[in-house]
C-alpha cells in the first residue's frame, strides 16, 4: 500500500526530495474505529492501552450506508460553458484567493483554485535570521495553525543544529498543538453550521471556539500561541504548580463539546446536507497524496503523531480516527473524533506531566550536515519542514503544508457538484490560502 508521498521542494533550487512514501497497513496502531464501533480496537498503541479510568463510553449512532455520488465527468467545454471567477475578495471565503469555476449555470464542471494573491514571500525572507527570529515569521505563516508550524520549524532547526530541548518544552509544544487542534476542528464545525444556516448551533459553536481561545490565552499567554514555544515568549501558565486554567476548564469544555455535537447529530437537515457532499475515493486520496482528516476520512489510518512518534506522543494513548466514506460528513466525523482524542491527550498530559522537566530530549538525526527535517500532524494534516542552519543562522527553509497536499482532492471532489455545495465542501477540508501563499 502506498501512503501519502511527501515531496519537499526547495523554492530556490527547485530540487525535489521524496522523503517517505510507503507504509504497510498491518503496522496500523490504535485504530479508533468508525462510528459504529466507538473506541474498541486498540492494538500496539505506542504508549500502551488506554488507562482504564480515562475510558469513556460515547454514545455513537451506527454509520449509515451511503451511495457514492460521483458520476462520469462532464465535458469541461461546451455550449454555454463559461468561467465564473469567485474572489479574491469575498466574504464567503474570508481569505484572499480566487476560484475559477467552469460552469454553465449551476453545476460545477471544474474548479481551479487560483493561489498567490497573498503570497508574503516568507520563506525567502528568512535567510540570515536567527532561529527564534525566523520562528516569529513562521508562526505568522498561518495563524490558526501557528503551534504546528512553530513546532515543526523548531524541531527541524534543532535537528539541523543537533540541539536538544528540555522535556518540558516537548510537552509544552504538544499541549499547545492539541489545544489548537481542538479549536480548529470546532471552528470547522462552526463554518459548516454557518453554511447550513444552523444559527443556534453556529452561535454555540462560535461560543465554544471563543472559550477555547480564552483558555489558550490563559494557559499560554496568547490566543493564537504566537511566541509560546520561543525563549522569552509570553508568560505561560503551564508549569505543574500553575496550570489551574487548563485543569479547571478541560472537563467543562469536553462536556460542552459533547452537548454541542449531540445536538448537531439530532439535526437531520444538517447531516443530510453534508452527507455525500464532495466525496473523494480512497484511491484518489492516496494517489494525490491527501493528508490529515481528508485522508483519514477515506479509511486510511495515517497520523504523524503515531507514524513518527516524538515525545510525549510515544508515552500517551492516542486513538486514531478513521471514517470510510470520504465525504464532507466523513471529514467532519473524523474531526469530531479527533477533538475527543485531543481532549484525552491533554487529560493524560496533565496527569502524567514529567517530573524530570529539565532532562534533555535528543533531536532527530540531521539528514545532512546542518540540515534537518521534521513532520508534525497539523490540524489539517501532515506538515513537513526542511530547514538548513549555518552558524546559528537560517540559510534555507522549505515546507510542504497540509493545504498544499489537499488542494487536488478538493478540486476532484467538487467536480459534478453544484454551487451550493461549495461551502460545505470547502470548509470540511480545512485548507488555508495562507498556508499555500506563504
Amino acid at each position: 500500500m502506498i501512503g501519502p508521498a511527501v515531496h519537499v521542494r526547495s523554492p530556490e533550487s527547485g530540487e525535489s526530495n521524496r522523503v517517505l512514501a510507503y507504509w504497510a497497513p498491518d503496522e496500523t496502531v490504535a485504530v479508533w474505529n468508525n462510528l459504529s464501533k466507538g473506541i474498541t480496537e486498540v492494538e500496539r498503541a505506542p504508549g500502551g492501552p488506554c488507562p482504564p479510568h480515562l475510558r469513556k463510553a460515547w454514545a455513537v449512532p451506527p454509520a449509515e450506508p451511503r451511495a457514492r455520488c460521483v458520476g462520469p465527468l462532464e465535458q469541461v467545454d461546451g455550449y454555454g460553458v463559461f468561467t465564473f471567477p469567485y474572489g479574491p475578495i469575498s466574504m464567503g471565503v474570508p481569505e484572499a484567493g480566487r476560484f475559477d469555476v467552469r460552469t454553465y449555470g449551476e453545476r460545477v464542471l471544474d474548479i481551479r483554485p487560483q493561489v498567490g494573491f497573498k503570497s508574503r514571500r516568507i520563506l525567502g525572507s528568512l535567510s540570515g535570521l536567527s532561529v527564534p527570529d525566523a520562528a516569529l515569521r513562521i508562526e505568522r505563516l498561518a495563524g490558526p495553525f501557528a503551534a504546528a508550524h512553530a513546532a515543526a520549524f523548531l524541531a527541524a532547526a534543532e535537528s539541523a543544529e543537533g540541539r536538544s530541548i528540555a522535556v518540558r518544552d516537548a510537552w509544552t509544544r504538544a499541549a499547545g498543538q492539541e489545544l489548537q487542534r481542538i479549536y480548529n476542528h470546532v471552528h470547522v464545525l462552526a463554518r459548516i453550521a454557518e453554511a447550513a444556516s444552523q444559527n443556534v448551533g453556529l452561535a454555540q459553536a462560535h461560543a465554544l471556539a471563543e472559550d477555547l481561545l480564552r483558555l489558550t490565552a490563559a494557559t499560554f499567554g496568547h490566543r493564537w500561541l504566537f511566541g509560546a514555544f520561543l525563549p522569552g515568549g509570553p508568560p505561560s501558565h503551564l508549569a505543574p504548580a500553575d496550570r489551574g486554567p487548563l485543569r479547571q476548564s478541560l472537563d467543562l469544555l469536553t462536556q460542552r463539546f459533547e452537548r454541542l455535537w449531540a445536538t448537531f447529530q439530532d439535526s437531520r437537515t444538517f447531516l443530510d446536507r453534508i452527507q455525500t457532499t464532495c466525496a473523494i475515493s480512497r484511491d484518489d486520496a492516496v494517489l494525490w497524496g491527501a493528508v490529515g482528516p481528508t485522508l483519514r476520512a477515506t479509511g486510511v489510518a495515517w497520523d504523524d503523531r503515531l507514524r513518527t512518534p516524538v515525545p510525549p506522543y510515544n508515552d500517551l494513548f492516542l486513538p486514531l480516527a478513521t471514517e470510510p466514506t470520504g465525504d464532507s460528513l466523513g471529514r467532519l466525523l473524523v474531526r469530531v473524533l479527533e477533538v475527543r482524542s485531543s481532549f484525552l491527550l491533554l487529560e493524560q498530559m496533565l496527569e502524567r506531566w514529567p517530573r524530570n522537566e529539565e532532562e534533555p530530549v535528543a533531536p532527530a538525526a540531521a539528514i545532512a550536515p546542518g540540515r534537518g527535517i521534521a513532520r508534525v500532524e497539523s490540524p489539517s494534516g501532515d506538515l513537513v519542514y526542511d530547514v538548513t542552519v549555518t552558524d546559528g543562522r537560517v540559510t534555507r527553509v522549505s515546507t510542504r503544508t497540509a493545504s498544499d497536499a489537499n488542494w487536488p482532492l478538493f478540486t476532484l471532489g467538487m467536480r459534478d457538484a453544484v454551487f451550493t455545495d461549495f461551502h460545505f465542501a470547502w470548509e470540511s477540508f480545512g485548507i488555508l490560502f495562507a498556508e499555500t501563499d506563504r
Binding site: P88, M91, K118, I122, G143, P144, A146, L230
Partner: protein, 248 residues
C-alpha cells in the same frame, strides 16, 4: 428542537458588558495589551536591542510596529496598557517617552447614525486577524447589538476593515473594493501588518503599509488585536467610542 433551546438556556447570556463597562481580564489576553515602560524610556537600553521589529527606541514606542512578542517583558516593560489606548490615527500610535498621548476620536461616520455595515478585506494576512474580526459576530461580542453588521459586498459597506500586509497582487483588488464603497466611508487597518508590515516589514514584493495603497482612517495595533479592540475602533469611527451607561 428541545435540546438546542435547553443548551442555550443553560449557557445563559454570554455577551460582554463592553462598551458599557470596561473590558474584563478574561476578554483581553496579556498579549492583547500595549507594552508600557516601567521607568523612563531612555534608561531602558536593552529593550531596543531585543525588539524584533524596531518598535522600541530610546525616544518612543511605536505601537503600530509592535507584534506583542513579549520579548521586552524582562527588560523594563509590562504589557499593561488599556486595550483601546493604543488605537487611533497613525500619529497617535507613536508614544513619545513610551506613554500614550491624547486620543483623537473623529467620529467620521457619526452622520450615519447608530448603524454601520462592515466589509472585511484580506490583503495578505495569516488568517488570525480575519478570525478575530469575524469573532465579533460570536455571542461573546455580538456586534449586532451595537448596530454593527457584516455585509457581503463593498457596495453596501460603510467601513472597510483591512487585515494583512498588502502584497503587490492585492493592491488592485483592495483599491477597487475601496472605490466601490459609497461615501461617507471609513477604512480601519487591523493588526500590525497593514500598519507597518509587522514582522514582514522590509520584504520585497510587499507594500510598506496599507496607507501606501488607500487612505486609512483608523489603526488597530496588535498581532492580532483582541476582538474588543476591533470593536472599539469601529465604535470610534461611529463617534460612539465612550458610550455612557445606558447604551447611548
Amino acid at each position: 428542537m428541545p435540546s438546542w433551546l435547553q443548551m442555550a438556556w443553560e449557557r445563559g447570556i454570554l455577551t460582554t458588558r463592553y462598551p458599557r463597562e470596561g473590558a474584563r481580564a478574561e476578554e483581553v489576553p496579556v498579549t492583547g495589551r500595549p507594552p508600557v515602560p516601567v521607568s523612563a524610556l531612555d534608561h531602558l537600553t536593552e529593550a531596543p536591542a531585543r525588539c524584533p521589529t524596531g518598535a522600541i527606541t530610546l525616544e518612543a514606542v511605536d505601537q503600530g510596529k509592535c507584534v506583542r512578542c513579549a520579548r521586552c517583558l524582562g527588560v523594563g516593560f509590562t504589557l499593561s496598557g488599556p486595550v483601546e489606548s493604543s488605537e487611533g490615527r497613525r500619529a497617535d500610535l507613536v508614544w513619545a517617552g513610551g506613554l500614550p498621548g491624547a486620543q483623537t476620536n473623529d467620529g467620521l461616520l457619526a452622520e450615519l447614525g447608530r448603524s454601520v455595515h462592515v466589509f472585511m478585506v484580506d490583503v495578505g494576512s495569516c488568517m488570525a486577524c480575519n478570525l478575530e474580526v469575524l469573532a465579533l459576530s460570536n455571542p461573546y461580542y455580538d456586534s449586532q447589538r451595537l448596530g454593527i453588521f457584516f455585509t457581503n459586498s463593498p457596495r453596501h459597506a460603510d467601513v472597510l476593515v483591512v487585515v494583512g500586509v498588502p502584497t503587490d497582487e492585492m493592491v488592485e483588488p483592495v483599491r477597487r473594493a475601496y472605490e466601490a464603497m459609497p461615501a461617507p466611508k471609513a477604512v480601519i487597518a487591523v493588526g500590525a501588518c497593514p500598519i507597518s508590515g509587522g514582522v514582514f516589514a522590509g520584504t520585497g514584493g510587499l507594500k510598506p503599509s496599507l496607507e501606501a495603497v488607500i487612505p486609512v482612517d483608523r489603526f488597530v495595533p496588535g498581532c492580532p488585536p483582541p476582538p474588543i479592540a476591533i470593536l472599539h475602533a469601529i465604535l470610534a469611527t461611529m463617534g460612539r467610542s465612550r458610550t455612557p451607561p445606558g447604551g447611548r
